[in-house]
Structures are given as C-alpha cells and as structure tokens.
C-alpha cells in the first residue's frame, strides 16, 4: 500500500513537472522572441527586459518625486481635493499637469514592469529553490503596489474616484470582518467628510512607504542588487513618459457626486481590471481571484520544489580567508566567520546550504582553484562537490586532448545559457559549467600557455541577463584586471573571446566562433612572450563594449 502511494505521488510530481516545463518553455519562447527584437534595438546591455526589477525601482522614484510635488498643492477636503487637482491640471499645465500625468503614467509603467518581471522570473525558473524568498516577498508586494495606486485615484475625488470608493467599499463589505458596512460611508454626499481625505492622504503616503520597505525586504537576500537600471533606459523611459504627459495629460472625470450614480467610467485598466468583475460576477468571486491567485503564486515555488545541486563546500586547510568568494556570491550564501582551525588567518569562509544554488561563482573567485597546482592535491579553498576544480581540470584536459590544427578552441559555457552541444566539432572542445564565472582565469592561462588549445572562448548568458545574476559581470571584470582573481598579464588577450548570448543567438555564436578560429589561424601557434596583443586588443577594449563580433557577442 505504502509503495503504491509513493508511486502515485511520484507520478503526480512527474506530471506537475512536465506541465510546469511546458508552460515555462512556451513562456520562454514568447519572451525570447520579444527580447530578441529588443536586443536589436537596444543591445543586451540596456535591453529593458533584462532590467525589469530595477526599472520598477526607478518608476517608484519617479512616482515619489512627482507625488511630493503634487502634495504641496493638494487640499485634503471634499471640495478642495477636486479643485486643487483641477488647478494643477489646468492652471499649472506647464508643471502641475506634467507632474500629475507623470505620477499616473509612471505608476502604470511600474505595474507593467512588475508583472513582466514576475512572469519572466517564472518562465526562466528563477523563483524556486533558494529564490523562494524573493518570489514570495515579491508576490506580497503586488498588494501594496495595487493599494498604493488605487488609493491615489480616490484622492482626485472625481467620478472615477467615486466609482472606486463605492465598489471598493462594497468589495470589502463581502468580508465578514466589519461591524458596519463600509459602503455606508458613501451613501450620499452628506456621508463623506473632510476628515476622510486626511485619512486617504495619510494612507496614500503610508502604503507606498510600506511598499518601499517591502521592496527593500524583497532584495535583502540578494547581494549587489541592481536597483538602478542603466542610465540610457532611465533617460529614455523618463523622456518618453514626459512627452506622453505633455501631449496626453491625465484628466479628471468630473467632480464626484454621491447623490447620483456613476454610469460610465474610464478606468485605469492597469490598476482596475478586477473592478468590473466585482460588478459582473460578485465580490466573492473577485476575492477568490485576488486571494486565490495570490495564494497560488505563493505556493508556486513548491509545486514542485526545486532541488538545488549540492552546495559549495569549504576546505579549511586550503582557505586563507581572503573573502573573494564572499564578495562574489550572488546569493549571499557565503559568509566570513572568525577562524576556528588555528591557521594564521583572521577569517574563514562558511557556506549556508539553504542559500547556495551551486552556481560555482565562489570557486571561480577562489585564488586556490588553480589548475597549475602540482605539489599538493588539487583541492580549492571552496569547491563544488558535483564539479570539483580537480574534475574541471580533468575535463579540460580530456576536451583538449583530441583537438587538432592551429585553430583549436576550448569553449567554456554555462549550463543555464545557450545549448552548446552543436558547437563541438573538430578543433573545438566544449565544457559546460554551472556558470561561466565558476571558472577561475587561471584556467584560461593554463589552456593557452600550456598549449592545450590555441584559444579560449567563454560563452555565457546575454549580458545583463545572467541566470546567476553576476556571472558575466564578474568574468568581464576578472579578465579586465578589475576584480580578483585577475587573468595574468602573460596571457595573450587576442586568444580569448567572450560571447554573451541569449538562447536565440545560436547562429551569431557559430559565426563568432568561426571568425575567432580564423583569427587564431592567422596568429599561428602560441609562443611564450612572442604573441603580444595588438593595440586595439588591450584588456580594457577587448572586454569592453566592442563592435567586433569575432571577439565578443553582446
């Protein structure tokens, strides 16, 4: 019986996984198509789809700044609320109207990027495992976001505000928690007082402050969280929203009058899409959608649960407490503790397995993870149980042994990125790592200066969209000598190519590889000290934003 139940639950989990993968695959395809188009226009560095979370922070600040300006002129009274907003819109059209419109449109933009951010993290499977915390806090933030936005519409006290006030009250009255129906507060004009607007103003400031607090909690477990999008997108979106505000200003929909019923409204559908359902179906159904949807999203990380690979392990005899793994871990899974083994170092690394995704970036940061070590057994200060540094060395040697010709290339790829199986051919070896930043630069040195291959190509996720968040950035900085562990100066930079490509970039990657091999053929075999990089291929330019796709796709 027990065996039967276990088998049944196993089947169920298998079915769920299959369904989940189908949904994610479809979603990923849709996102890939759109992002591909955006890549062409923006380039991957500033593709807005790779900065959705940071964009939501940016829009929050735009809403805050415009809101502060509006609040200076806003009157917290029944008559004054509408009048002051009308004054801002029509009398102060040059600034007040733009500020009002920016306030509305930026909050709408925030809803769009937040929902896209949620959907994208889901289809890319970046919400389960150790990322459950960011996912759940993010889902809860949706309520604060909507409460902030909808509360703002009340303040205008126009016909739309009246509609929202009455329907919201009726919606909440469905919950059996109020002694007296909230909707009684909006029976007619006599039922509303000026104090109501003081309360609303207080709520419209308080709830966004809680939203901000929640946004901070949301990124608490992420190291080096990106809360500012690239400057180009900030300027672009702000400019576009300002132009929209000037050309198509937000307007009120006539003063509220509770003695008459609102017939036709023009809702802001980004915030109020649920409201007609309250009318058409019932408040209970609307609560079912909102509450049930939230609950479903919250338990999603466990439907089914993601099992991470074995966490990184610290080898104390090999750890000198340098802290590079601590600095580079994208998930704050590594912390530094006081030394416990008596070795003459101040600190030692320690891994929290609950936060570790086994990306291996810590190993790539460890100066002891070098393939050149011969006197002692190759064990890094921090290592991955499933792909130890010793194994990477062995696989490197295996992959390069069979390579022939003068254009031998060893490609190091990352597992969550583009599929590299089609790349392996005569003269090209492929080795896939959990993340491209799991590779210490000394491996590149090892492969080239020991003549295991004529060149090394690093292939990672699209720049700005690294699955493990910081892998591409750290790799670039290590190659450019800006981040420990550095790539040694003796390694000829022209024999290294990096390609940060999205899954849709297979063709471009093949072209880049062919071009790279062609250049290697022209260079001839590596000779110690005899193959200096050309001026244009200095580390800074070679690994910066270059247009030569033979060296770098981005």
């Amino acid at each position: 019986m027990l065996r039967y139940l276990v088998a049944q639950s196993g089947d169920e989990i298998f079915r769920r996984r299959a369904l989940l993968k189908t949904i994610q695959r479809s979603g990923r395809l849709a996102f890939t198509l759109v992002e591909h188009a955006f890549d062409h226009a923006f380039g991957p560095r500033i593709n807005p789809f790779y900065h959705l979370g940071a964009l939501s922070f940016f829009f929050f600040w735009v809403v805050t700044a415009s809101g502060i300006y509006l609040f200076i002129f806003f009157e917290t009274s029944i008559e004054g609320a509408y009048r002051s907003v009308e004054y801002l819109t029509h009398e102060q059209w040059y600034l007040g109207s733009v500020a009002r419109s920016l306030h509305r449109y930026a909050s709408d933009a925030m809803v769009i990027v937040v929902l896209l951010h949620l959907a994208r993290e889901f289809v890319l499977d970046r919400y389960r495992g150790v990322r459950w915390y960011a996912w759940i806090t993010g889902v809860l933030l949706l309520w604060f976001l909507y409460a902030s936005g909808i509360g703002g519409y009340w303040l205008v006290w126009d016909r739309l505000a009246q509609y929202i006030a009455v329907v919201t009250a009726e919606w909440f009255d469905w919950l059996p928690i109020f002694g007296e129906p909230m909707a009684r507060n909006f029976l007619n004009n006599a039922a509303v007082s000026d104090r109501f607007f003081s309360l609303l103003s207080f709520l419209h400031i308080g709830i966004p402050l809680f939203l901000l607090l929640g946004m901070w909690i949301h990124i608490l477990r992420i190291s080096v969280a990106k809360t500012n999008p690239p400057r180009a997108i900030m300027i672009g979106t702000l400019l576009a929203l300002t132009v929209l505000s000037a050309l198509y200003p937000a307007l009120s929909q006539g003063p509220a009058d509770l003695d008459t019923v609102v017939s036709v409204v023009r809702p802001d559908w980004f915030y109020l899409a649920l409201y007609p359902l309250i009318d058409v179906w019932s408040p209970g159904v609307a609560w079912g959608i909102a509450g049930g949807g939230t609950l479903l999203l919250m338990i999603l990380p466990w439907l089914p649960r993601r099992r991470e690979a074995a966490a990184a392990v610290v080898s104390l005899p090999n750890c000198n407490g340098c802290g590079r793994c601590f600095a580079d871990c994208p998930y704050s899974a590594v912390i530094m503790l006081p030394r416990t083994d008596g070795l003459p170092y101040d600190s030692q690394a320690s891994v929290n397995p609950d936060l570790c995704t086994a990306c291996g970036i810590c190993v790539g940061a460890c100066p002891t993870a070098t393939p050149f070590r011969r006197k002692t057994e190759l064990i890094a200060g921090i290592d991955m149980p499933l792909l130890a540094i010793r194994t990477i060395r062995e696989k490197t040697l295996t992959a390069t042994t069979k390579l022939e010709g003068q254009d031998r290339v060893l490609v190091y790829g990352c597992q969550p990125g583009i599929d590299l199986t089609g790349l392996a051919q005569k003269g090209v070896g492929v080795l896939t790592l959990p993340c491209v930043a799991a590779l210490t630069p000394s491996f590149i040195d090892f492969v080239i200066t020991r003549h295991h291959a004529d060149g090394v190509m690093l292939v990672g996720c699209a720049a700005g969209d690294c699955y493990h968040r910081l892998g591409v950035d750290w790799t670039e900085q290590r190659l450019a000598g800006q981040r420990d562990p550095y790539l040694r100066g003796r390694v000829p930079r022209e024999r290294i190519a990096t390609a940060w490509v999205a899954p849709s970039g297979a063709k471009r990657l093949t072209q880049a590889l062919d071009a790279f091999r062609s250049r290697l053929r022209d260079m001839g075999p590596y000779q110690k000290g005899g193959s200096l990089p050309p001026p244009s291929a200095s580390p800074s330019s070679n690994h910066g934003e270059v247009s030569d796709a033979a060296y770098r796709l981005g």
């Binding site: 923006f42 769009i112 909707a183 009684r184 008459t260 019923v261 017939s263 036709v264 980004f270």
Partner: protein, 168 residues
C-alpha cells in the same frame, strides 16, 4: 552610421509603443458601470434591535448575595433581537431580510447595505421594520411617493432617534 540610426529608430519605436499602451489603457476602453436610464435605490442602516429578553429587577436576596460594588438593581440580557425589514415598491415586495445582531454575544447592531437598480419614474415606496421579538408586527412603517430620475441615488436609511425611516 546607418546601423546607429536604425538602432535609435528601433528604440524610439519601442518607447513610443510602451507609452502608447500606457496612455491608451490608462483611460480606455470606457466601462459602463450603470445603465444611464436607471436610478439606484440604496437601502442601508445600522440599528441595534431591542434586547431579546425583558430587563428584570433583582430581588433583595439576590442583591444581598452580590458584592456591594456589583449590586445593580436591574439586569438585562446582552443579546438583541434580530431586525426584520421589508421594502415594497408599488405594492410588490422588493427586499425582505431578517438581519442578525453583530458580535459574538449577538449584542451589536443589525446592519444592511443593499442596492437596487430601478427604471427612472414614480413609485409608491413602503418600508417596514421590526426590531423586537416581543412585538408581533412591524413597529416601524413608512410609505411615500417618490420620483426618481435617471442616475439618481435614493437612500432608505433608518434612525430610531429621529422617528424611524429616513428617505434621502
């Protein structure tokens, strides 16, 4: 150069598309919440029914047994009567309810909030309310002729302190 122009044009296109979506869906399409030719009757009040049991005067013996600070001569039960309410429009029953008192001890007010869309026009409105289980019939009744215009909100409220039903 051409590539740059194409790139910036593409960015402009996407920014334009982004703000167009925002601009459009922030006010459109319009939604018809309520038919323009109808009026709305809202029935809403909050009224505490009479105590379920009559208050009782304690006997001298009972008072003697109590501590001096608790010797209240009259004792009343906490629970209140449910409030029965009926609304008739032109002689036809539109709404009938027995509204329970709120609270765990059922000692709070009975409340109601209902709305009814009706075609604009003239109606004979009759409201009846009973707030005591000890009264067999309705102890508050009011009738009135009312003319409602399209879009008007007509409120039926109740306040025992001002004599009963309030039509606004």
């Amino acid at each position: 150069m051409l590539k740059k122009i194409m790139r910036y044009s593409g960015q402009g296109l996407f920014y334009g598309l982004f703000v167009s979506v925002i601009g459009y869906f922030s006010v459109a399409p319009a939604y018809v919440h309520f038919p323009a030719d109808q009026a709305l009757i809202k029935v809403s009040f909050s009224h505490a029914g009479q105590p379920l049991e009559e208050c009782r005067v304690r006997t001298a013996e009972e008072l003697e047994k109590l501590p001096p600070n608790m010797r209240v001569p009259v004792v009343c039960g906490r629970e209140r009567s449910p409030v029965k309410f009926e609304l008739e429009l032109d002689g036809e029953l539109l709404y009938r309810a027995e509204l329970p008192p709120a609270g765990l001890s059922r000692d709070g007010a009975s409340t109601v909030y209902q709305r009814f869309a009706v075609p604009a026009g003239r109606y004979r409105l009759r409201t009846r309310l009973n707030d005591s289980v000890r009264v067999p019939d309705f102890n508050y009744t009011q009738e009135t002729d009312v003319t409602v215009v399209p879009g008007q909100v007509f409120v039926v409220d109740f306040n025992a302190h001002t004599g009963g039903f309030v039509f606004k």
